[in-house]
């Protein structure tokens, strides 16, 4: 029987999937069918239920109602291990690796090569990990390295490669590209194509809508936990997709506003960095004017996040940093905050949020002293204040008293940005600010960043999404190997230009 035979039971069929959480219906009677080799895009705003659906399919959580069938036979997972046995693998939204274990172990997992008596053959493991790493473009990574030392994108590639290696029957990708660079995305595409060729069905979630058109045969749109539309990818365009997702049209998200390139009067320098040197940075000189938005571009691992962290007092440094002309000593985050610097970190779960605390408290954390009076909180005022921020940033939650851990990824990201917007800032550093954020919210975040800049805040934006940098930045600086290697106007920041600049610098430094 051929895999594409329409009368055969589908590879996977889910019907009537419902999942309730206190105060929300994350999924409401959703149905989904998958056939061999097919790629389905799951589209929806933040909090629409996409991840919840994938977690249910992968046995990670149990649905309240609904059935799942594989090859026509109903199944009920007791754990992800059981789902995996049936060939269903999930690449989760939050990067999941074993920080303390070696790269090879993360890659090979339960399939480590063995010798007699079942003993693991570590040298064989290193060899096959080596091959695998080379094939996914992680040639620079040693198989024996502690995985926690890798950067986020390398970790993400690792967790993707791990699943691809298993050749599952169904591969569920939950925003796999959110922390990847362009070159890595290319490799991911290749891996997906390879999987599909082998008959694996794919479910794919992303907030970079273009990817749906690159990859999928069919898109399924969720809104507030309900399936609202389903269509072949060829029969829909980006605007149509957005319209179905958010219920309204949203045009020209990435179009650069013309006024950015208009001549503006010179403004005072808000942030001045001279000869900044750390373990990973070398002699960075950088000036950002009040109200200016500077994008930082560069290849993965070029030191962008290191720069952001150093500006926020995370690492010891040599060199000078001055805010509004006054030199500041950044020994800790608290000092940086006092100096008027704020950071939206790259890894929101680890660095951005206290997941066990409420939205209101996460929002208020940097401003606690301002919202409170004499160190004593004023709950009513705090709630009202937080509600204000929630509305302004469109954070979707039952109330600001919901714990942050219960929010969808995109909404969590909005909290991390919003908590700084409430402070009297001089310098705002954003490290991948729209990772995992839906189109509506992206527009919202751009608007907010621009309005902060308009208020005179100096903004540094790090982003692996080039159109984001092009959309936002007045000026772009390029980094390579921990150094600033060049600078260009925002509208000139094409991929080619940046790559050329970084590459040239690489050549130089090798000489």
């Amino acid at each position: 029987m051929s895999a594409t035979d329409a009368t055969a039971p589908p590879l996977l069929r889910a019907t009537g999937i419902t999942k309730r959480y206190p105060g929300v219906r994350a999924l409401d009677g959703v149905a989904l069918e998958l056939r061999n080799g097919e790629a389905v895009g799951l589209v929806g705003e933040n909090g629409s239920g996409k991840s919840t659906l994938l977690k249910i399919l992968a046995g990670r959580i149990a649905p309240d109602e609904g059935t799942i069938e594989i090859d026509g036979a109903p199944v009920r997972w007791s754990s992800p291990a059981r789902a995996l046995d049936s060939g269903i693998a999930l690449i989760a939204q939050e990067v999941h690796v074993q920080d303390e274990l070696s790269v090879a172990e993360n890659l090979l997992g339960q399939q480590l090569p063995r010798r007699r008596f079942g003993a693991i053959d570590w040298s064989a493991a290193a060899r096959s990990a080596r091959e695998l790493l080379d094939s996914i473009g992680l040639a620079h990574v040693s198989p024996t390295l502690r995985t926690g030392r890798l950067s986020l994108h390398d970790q993400q590639m690792l967790s993707i490669a791990k699943v691809v290696r298993l050749r599952p029957r169904v591969a569920l990708f939950d925003e796999p590209t959110s922390s990847l660079t362009a070159a890595e995305i290319e490799r991911l595409y290749a891996m997906i194509a390879q999987l599909r060729a082998g008959g694996t069905a794919i479910v794919y979630i992303t907030h970079r809508l273009q990817e749906y058109f690159d990859l999928t045969d069919r898109v399924v749109v969720l809104r507030d936990g309900q399936l609202v539309a389903e269509s072949a990818t060829t029969e829909i365009d980006e605007n149509g997709l957005v319209e179905r997702m958010v219920g309204r049209r949203l045009v020209r998200l990435f179009e650069r506003p013309a006024e950015k390139d208009a001549e503006r009067p010179p403004r005072p320098t808000a942030l001045r960095v001279r000869g900044l040197t750390t373990r990973t940075l070398r002699g960075i000189d950088l000036e950002v004017a009040a109200g200016e938005i500077v994008g930082i571009a560069g290849q993965a691992g070029c030191g962008r996040s290191s720069l952001a962290g150093t500006l926020f007092g995370q690492w010891p440094y040599d060199g000078e940093i001055a805010v509004d002309g006054a030199p500041v000593a950044l020994g800790s985050a608290a000092r940086a905050v006092r100096a008027g610097i704020a950071l939206v970190p790259e890894d929101r779960k680890r660095q951005g949020l206290v997941l066990s605390m409420s939205i209101a408290e996460n929002l208020a954390m940097p401003s606690w002293r301002d919202v409170a009076r004499g160190g004593v909180r004023r709950p009513a005022a705090e709630t009202a204040w937080a509600e204000g921020l929630r509305e302004r940033f469109g954070i979707r939650a039952v109330s600001v008293a919901t714990v942050a851990g219960a929010l969808s990824g995109g909404n969590q990201q909005k909290i991390v940005i919003a908590k700084w917007a409430a402070r009297g800032l001089r310098v705002l550093v954003l490290d991948e600010p729209t990772r995992g954020v839906d189109v509506g919210a992206k527009a919202e975040i751009y608007r907010i960043v621009e309005s902060l800049a308009a208020e005179g805040v100096a903004v540094l934006v790090i982003s692996s999404e080039l159109h984001e940098v092009m959309r936002l930045a007045d000026r772009v600086v390029v980094m390579a190997h921990g150094e600033l290697v060049g600078e260009m106007r925002g509208r000139d920041a094409t991929e080619e230009a940046i790559t050329a600049m970084a590459f040239a610098a690489g050549k130089e430094s090798e000489v």
Partner: protein, 336 residues
Amino acid sequence: MSIETHAAVAAPAREGRARGWATSPVAPYVGLATVLVVLVAFQLATEPTFSSWSNLTNLMRSMAVPLLLAAAGTLVLLTAGVDLSIGALLGLSGIFYAKLATGGFSPLPALLLTLLAGGAIAFFVNGYLIGRVGMSFFVVTLGTGSILRGAAYLWSDNTAIDMSQNDLAATLGNTAILGDKIPVGILVAVGVAVLLWAILRYTVYGRSIYAVGGNREAAELSGVPSGWVIASVYGIVGLCAVLAGIMMIGRQTIADPNAGVGIELTVASAILLGGVALQGGVGSIWGAVLGTVFLSVLANALALHGLSSNWQLVVTGVILLLAVYLDRLRQRIGDG
């Protein structure tokens, strides 16, 4: 990361549970509270002495010290630590106070000096080493506990000091007021618990404790001085241990260098039983208070029924398992 995911895997319902100010006061203790209610009902039905004032006064008197320590210990546990030195500090403080008192200090200055000394040790040794230097709470408090206990024995020459004439200690540890019904000690303990609860709930400092325990890195990146927050909770629990030491003198009428041996484990059990999470950031003082009340009532009930201490061990264990099992069961049902 491991622990975060533990919480996520083992107790997904916890996430959805928090309403209001993130620490809902009732939900996590349902299992424990149920078993406690059943226990009390059983006692009322079978044991007339249980509800006598004299038994209740006794119950409260025996609860004062653990309650005080559990309330303060909650702060430490919220930062994902445990203070294993409180028993030793309690013992040494008692000796210190007794030496001051027998050396001619009047009670109040002696109390204040002892608080000062004990708080300073707790803050500058435990707190500093754990919060600022970043050493493991387990080894640090084990080490200081060992030193402090040794010091208590050495200083007292292994001999208890008669303190039956010390009024302040007697008041704190023994006297009952309001018609001889309510021990002063329990009022002090409850007062401290309420104060700490208010601090946790209504002050910026209190919320910092939750934040540091919930995610130290994120808290730090939001400008919370996490090292000092951690140091301070050890200071607070130290102060409470000193107070407990004085209460213990009043209760025993002697200052015993042995006082408080092993109490840290009892206290930790009570707190954890009350739903405060070992990984930090989750739980409230009332959970710890409930845990303490539960363990005390259970011990009282078993003793009143005249069970041998061997049977008490067995029954206590079974009831502990039952209470936590019920709680899991409820979570699963809520979970679906």
